[in-house]
Amino acid sequence: MSSSNRKIKRHGFSVRFVHWTVAISTFLLIFSGFGQLPLYKRYMVDQLPLLGWTSNFGVTLMIHYIAAIALSFAVVYHIVFHVIRKEYDILPKRGDFKESVQIIMAMLGKGEEPENDKYLAEQRLAYAFIGVSLLLILVTGHIKVLKNLQTVTFPDSILGLATTLHNVATFMVLFGIIGHLAAFIFKENRALLPGIFTGEIDEEYAKKRHSKWYNRLNKQDRFNISG
């Protein structure tokens, strides 16, 4: 078998589970959240086939709550899992802004791309941005859930702040997702896509584009190569 067909393990089950739980729950949260604004009656989305339920606040609020349960579970799972395993490859490093520019310029055919670790510099920055946005949305969302309980009251100033930050964080997450998906406009990044579905990426690609990570794995002998 030629080495070009060999695969290398990039993500385990936990990483893929967290990624897709966050992705699906966030999509549901954004969709149901916009329904709470309210939006779907005004824009007559509820008149489209099969979408009559979208203007029912009872339905969209329940979707919002259930998706928030999934998101809370996944985010805490993610933090605890990687802290125990001491895996911090995705956290931003000094010089990531400069390096991101370098990588993007290289993809546009200007200059050399730096040697990359497991994640590209812009991936680390995007992770931090989306991560902070999600934490903000979770904390403020929990405050909003608690205040709905009959026995819980918050000062108006805290509720006003939580509401505003929740709304601002929604747009931060939206921009983050758009940026995340826009990365795949570049052909060079597309070889990473299978990793989040199957957990594996092409070994040749890893060797070439993520050489720091590849070499480290090589030294640690932690390859999990399948043909």
Binding site: F57, G58, I69, F81
Partner: protein
């Protein structure tokens, strides 16, 4: 020295108002002026809708008291794009027979058969000031607040006029006026619909130690104002004495407004719905029924709220298990 916080000022004012209300309504109690939650008792055996008068006294007083808060919309109000309509009551300011942005209380009249007799009942209607108001809790911009003393108050400077508060209110109380408010400064064609208006139990007045305008104006003493617990106790005593019925104690999970009626509210509700069905536009807001035992919109979501608090803990345990398991596998 001598300075007090705004909240303390309001608290003291309301305590003084409650004491005043207690004095005026003949209730004598030492507990009145403690700043505890306040409420109202609407005695339907006393209210006659100000028979003979064109407009009931409570309605006139409310309109007069709040006239400066009524909306003054822009000319040529735009539609709620992509819809070809907008909600404008500014040319119907004269209406006193329903709730509008210019009329925050009104009196409904029904004739109900009960125990073989026809009983005429007049019912002053306005915001019930619920204990756990879905209108305030679910406002996407936190434009509504449940004050510690009980009144639920809309901030017209924050309200975007999406009217969700009206949709989640069992009585559809808040009334919307387009062409006014914050949305005009953002993207009036595409987002927002105006400002919502409703009774705030004369929060400014009661903060200054005065009675709500409707309470003060009622010539029959049919609307009483005082500590909520006391109002409920009075309502129960009155209901027992007349073998009557209470509305507002359990509805929407509890409110600050207690109606006492000599006839069952189920019958009143049925007649109100029949009246509404006969109106020119039966779907028009501002003519609430009195559904008995109506639940709170938040009952179901609050039932799953515990899941949201447990989820992070469950996530931590699951992650701990998964991390240790995978690390053991890697060591082998």
């Amino acid at each position: 020295m001598g300075e007090i916080s705004r909240r303390e000022f309001i608290k003291r004012g309301i305590a003084a108002g409650v004491a005043g209300g207690v004095a005026l309504s003949g209730i004598k109690t030492a507990e009145a002026a403690t700043g505890e939650p306040i409420g109202t008792l609407i005695d339907l055996t006393k209210c006659d809708g100000c028979k003979g008068q064109k407009v009931p006294a409570c309605v006139t007083a409310c309109r007069d008291e709040n006239k400066d808060k009524f909306p003054e919309p822009i000319e040529n109000i735009g539609d709620y794009w992509p819809q070809k309509k907008h909600e404008d009551w500014s040319d119907k300011r004269h209406l006193t027979n329903r709730l509008t942005p210019y009329n925050w209380t009104f009196v409904q009249n029904v004739k109900v058969q009960h125990n073989g007799k026809e009983v005429e009942v007049s019912i002053p209607r306005r915001c019930m000031h619920c204990d756990n108001p879905p209108c305030a809790n679910l406002c996407p911009f936190s434009a509504q607040e449940k004050k510690p003393e009980g009144p639920v108050v809309i901030d017209p400077n924050i309200c975007f006029g999406g009217a969700k508060c009206r949709s989640v209110c069992p009585w559809g109380i808040p009334a919307r006026q387009a062409g006014v408010g914050l949305y005009l400064k953002v993207a009036p064609k595409f987002a927002g619909g105006g400002v919502m208006y409703k009774c705030d139990l004369c929060y400014d007045r009661i903060s200054q130690g005065k009675l709500p305008a409707c309470v003060e104006a009622c010539p029959k003493g049919a609307i009483q104002f005082g500590p909520k617990k006391k109002m409920l106790k009075q309502a129960k005593e009155k209901a027992k004495a007349i073998n009557g019925y209470i509305y507002g104690e359990k509805e929407n999970g509890g409110t600050s407004t207690f109606y006492v009626s000599p006839v069952p509210f189920e019958k009143i509700h049925k007649h109100l719905m029949a009246q509404k069905a006969k109106q020119k536009n039966p779907k028009a807001p501002g003519f609430p029924g009195m559904p008995v035992g109506v639940g709170n919109f938040l009952d179901t979501p609050n039932g799953v709220a515990a899941g949201m608090l447990i989820a992070p803990v469950a996530g931590a345990f699951a992650a701990g298990y998964a991390a240790v398991k995978t690390m053991k596998g890697e060591k082998k």
